[in-house]
């Protein structure tokens, strides 16, 4: 059990406001373009970003290029961590169903420019969700 190595990290910058933070698979893949080591590629079948542990130099340029600052370096092995959709059969969905939360399920969606709208830093999501929950009080809490 290793939350800090999970490809899905959950931020809670304000209590009650949990923000799952993971790759949104932008249509133009700025992280892949930014990689100087050819360590990042796109899975043609799922559209997910794949990271080659061996090629990654932990330079952090993919993090900078990501509009959501989603990638992070693995705390022990020091390579970029990005959700790879587990090859199309995500473990998070399986666990969620197994635990009977049924909060996650698989969908099939064509690639779209709209995907990038979901690539945002957790601070921005937090502001939105906190405002939605707490209204004008959110300003004091963030």
């Amino acid at each position: 059990m290793w939350p800090e190595a999970s490809r899905v990290r959950v931020f809670m910058l304000v209590p009650g406001v949990e923000i799952p933070h993971l790759c949104a698979q932008c249509d133009d893949y700025p992280c892949v373009k930014a990689c100087p080591a050819d360590a990042l590629s796109v899975d043609g079948r799922t559209g997910a970003v794949l990271v080659s542990k061996e090629k990654c130099t932990a330079c952090g340029l993919c993090i900078e290029a990501c509009p959501g600052k989603v990638p992070f370096l693995h705390p022990r092995d020091n390579y970029a961590v990005i959700c790879d959709l587990c090859g199309g059969d995500p473990e998070c969905v399986k666990e969620c169903v197994a635990a009977r939360f049924n909060a996650l399920w698989l969908v099939q969606e064509p690639m779209s420019v709209s995907r990038k709208l979901f690539a945002r830093p957790p601070e921005e999501f937090t502001e939105d969700v906190a405002t939605n929950l707490y209204g004008e009080k959110a300003e004091e809490l963030i």
Binding site: E4, L13, H21, K69, R100, Y134, I142
Partner: protein, 618 residues
């Protein structure tokens, strides 16, 4: 070392400003596990030799924040706070939920031991690189939400700076105190997030007495390794299924669903400082909270399937702007009927007031009602209180709570907690007001009465080593040890309730690789911890030493219930005395409630036995 442990503890001396890592022998971990059990052992080893002279609010006391081997592996996440209690003068294991423990264990630590007193306000930051003492002058005086906001910001910025290029840093786990703890108020809680509290014991005051605003942890490593991961996964699923399939009421409504029925059906809910335990006020029913105030229906801490917390917010009216966890049953009772408040909004508001101040909702709510009863009886006047403290007036109770935290006027007396305030007021007034203090061994009693016979047993609090703590009452010297285990393995007892403790012990064996059985725990290991807690309680001091007669209920529990279906019923002194005898016999204490020499020696507690000689002679 058994599996399930990160392997080291942080030992901080705030007087000297030193921080070092420490470990315990495998035998200590095997016998005392963690949390409450390990706290009892550590406190006894370090302070047992001069327990009676240790001032709980002096630099000589310890503040412990300990996890256990099951923490985070067993669904849910909790930490146990302990020390010499400024309420009971004994040892209380006080647990609170939240991600502090997962972050602490991710940083490679099983717990923190704090001694001494800092010259100026500080907080302790624990990361994978170790512990450090940091300045907290800018945090002192801040209420809960502001404290959490500032520490989140500061620590994320600090750690981002230390590890540039690593990516965004998540928020740390925080255990902190509010103004109540800073004011060394004996009913101050140790808080987590906005509303999660380690309430019993008064450990917020211990932190305050050390100038310690917060313990903050951020780890990047994995949770400790377990012995048998396949078995742990299987059992994890079993616990999760049990909670989701068989504890739906807890998931949907939280324990707060009891706010109406514990009063209306069981007649065991505190009403106006326990002057009654029955009410039929539907204003406190579950739907009154849900439909009007809940803005988030399911909220859980890390890894918890139960999601018994609900976030409440008041959007209109005199209490507009209050946000917090919806009161659980305890706070619905203590911030509701106990203060004469019967509307959901007022109850949420007072719960948020307590949370923001870092006042234990149970112990603090008990204290506020004690003051209100003295006002009702004309013993405390509006002049002395600085307000008309009428039942049901949430704003008046808020003003008094603030005064208590500032130790201003009558607040200076009330800040000593219900029983100590009663002793002082009795001297000041030349009138015995202790019959109005609803406590056992200085610990304000949980919101479950004994009079109707449908809730806590007649001697459940009287002989309990944690006094008025409703989560760990005494009844059979055997199954009650389950709660000692929950507090020592440091799991949420609500999540153990449906799966049952046979499964919990299977889980423990799968995590640790040890062979410990439930029988062994309930007959030997749990008793050892309980005897140490009992010894500490009997030694007590320095301000109060409990006598055999103090193994009793609050006087109020012997007054007949005035109304409701159980009107006329009281706890029954003869029954209590008979049950006390049976209990002493079952657990191995003599007729005065002192652990017997041969029982202690058979358990290898020779040092405890020697210390109790002084009590036996007296």
């Amino acid at each position: 070392m058994p599996y399930g442990y990160a392997g080291k503890f942080l030992d901080v001396d705030l007087s000297k400003g030193t921080v070092k890592d420490t470990t315990f022998p495998d035998s200590v971990l095997t016998d005392y596990v963690g949390g409450r059990g390990l706290a009892a052992r550590i406190l006894w080893d370090r302070l047992g030799g001069y327990w009676r002279s240790v001032n709980p609010l002096g630099p000589e006391n310890l503040l412990l924040a300990l996890t256990g081997p099951l923490t985070n592996w067993y669904p849910g996440t909790r930490v146990c706070v302990s020390g010499k209690s400024p309420q009971s003068n004994g040892i209380i294991g006080s647990t609170t939920s939240g991600e502090f423990s997962s972050e602490l264990r991710a940083a490679g630590y099983d717990g923190i031991i704090v001694s001494g007193k800092a010259e100026n306000p500080v907080y302790i930051l624990v990361t994978d690189e170790g512990g450090e003492i940091r300045d907290a002058k800018h945090l002192w005086g801040r209420k809960g939400k502001e404290t959490v906001r500032l520490i989140n910001k500061e620590v994320r910025a600090e750690l981002s700076g230390r590890h540039p290029g690593r990516g965004l840093v998540r928020e740390p786990g925080i255990l902190y105190i509010g103004p109540a703890g800073e004011g060394r108020v004996r009913v101050a809680a140790v808080m987590q997030k906005w509303s999660h509290a380690a309430g019993y014991g008064g450990y917020g005051a211990v932190m305050g007495s050390k100038n310690l605003k917060a313990l903050v942890a951020k780890g990047f490593g994995p949770q400790p390794q377990v012995a048998n991961i396949d078995e742990v996964k299987r059992l994890w699923a079993a616990v999760t299924y049990a909670m989701i399939n068989n504890a739906d009421r807890l998931r949907r409504w939280g324990t707060g669903y009891g706010g109406y029925e514990v009063g209306a059906r069981s007649s065991s809910e505190p009403v106006r400082n326990w002057q009654d335990e029955w009410h039929d006020e539907r204003g406190l029913g579950g739907p009154r909270f849900d439909f009007r105030y809940w803005i988030k229906r399911y909220w859980s801490d890390f890894g918890c399937p139960s999601a018994c917390m609900k976030v409440a917010m008041i959007r209109t009216g005199p209490f507009k702007g209050a946000i917090g966890d919806n009161p659980d049953y305890e706070l619905e009772a203590y911030e509701g009927p106990n203060l004469g408040i019967y509307d959901a909004g007022g109850c949420i508001y007072m719960s948020v007031v307590c949370d923001e101040l870092g006042l234990s909702g149970i112990n603090g709510g008990n204290l506020l009602a004690f003051a209100a009863e003295l006002y009702q009886r004309g013993i405390l006047t509006a002049d002395e209180l600085g307000m008309d403290l009428k039942w049901g007036d949430a704003k008046a109770f808020e003003a008094l709570a603030e005064k208590i935290c500032r130790r201003e006027g009558i607040g200076e007396v009330l800040a000593e907690g219900t029983y100590r305030a009663a002793l002082r007021l009795s001297r000041m007034k030349g009138l015995d007001v202790t019959p109005y203090a609803v406590h056992v061994k200085g610990v304000e009693v949980g919101a479950h009465g004994t009079r109707s016979g449908l809730d806590v047993g007649p001697a459940g609090y009287a002989v309990a080593v944690q006094g008025g703590d409703h989560t760990s009452t005494a009844y059979d010297a055997h199954d009650e040890m389950n709660m000692v285990f929950a507090d020592s393995a440091v799991i949420c007892s609500m999540n153990a309730w449906r799966p049952g403790y046979d499964l919990v012990f299977s889980f423990y064996r799968a995590v640790t690789g040890l062979e410990t059985t439930r029988e062994e725990w309930c007959k030997v290991l749990g008793h050892r911890i309980t005897h140490i807690q009992r010894a500490a309680l009997l030694l007590g001091g320095p301000d109060i030493v409990w006598q055999p007669k103090d193994d009793d209920n609050p006087p109020r529990f012997y007054e007949p219930l005035p109304s409701g279906p159980y009107a006329g019923k009281e706890t029954g002194r003869a029954t209590v005395e008979e049950l006390k005898k049976q209990y002493y016999n079952a657990i191995g204490w003599d007729e005065r409630g002192i652990p017997k020499s041969e029982v202690l020696r058979a358990l290898g507690l020779d040092d405890v036995d020697r210390a109790l000689e002084a009590v036996r002679q007296s």
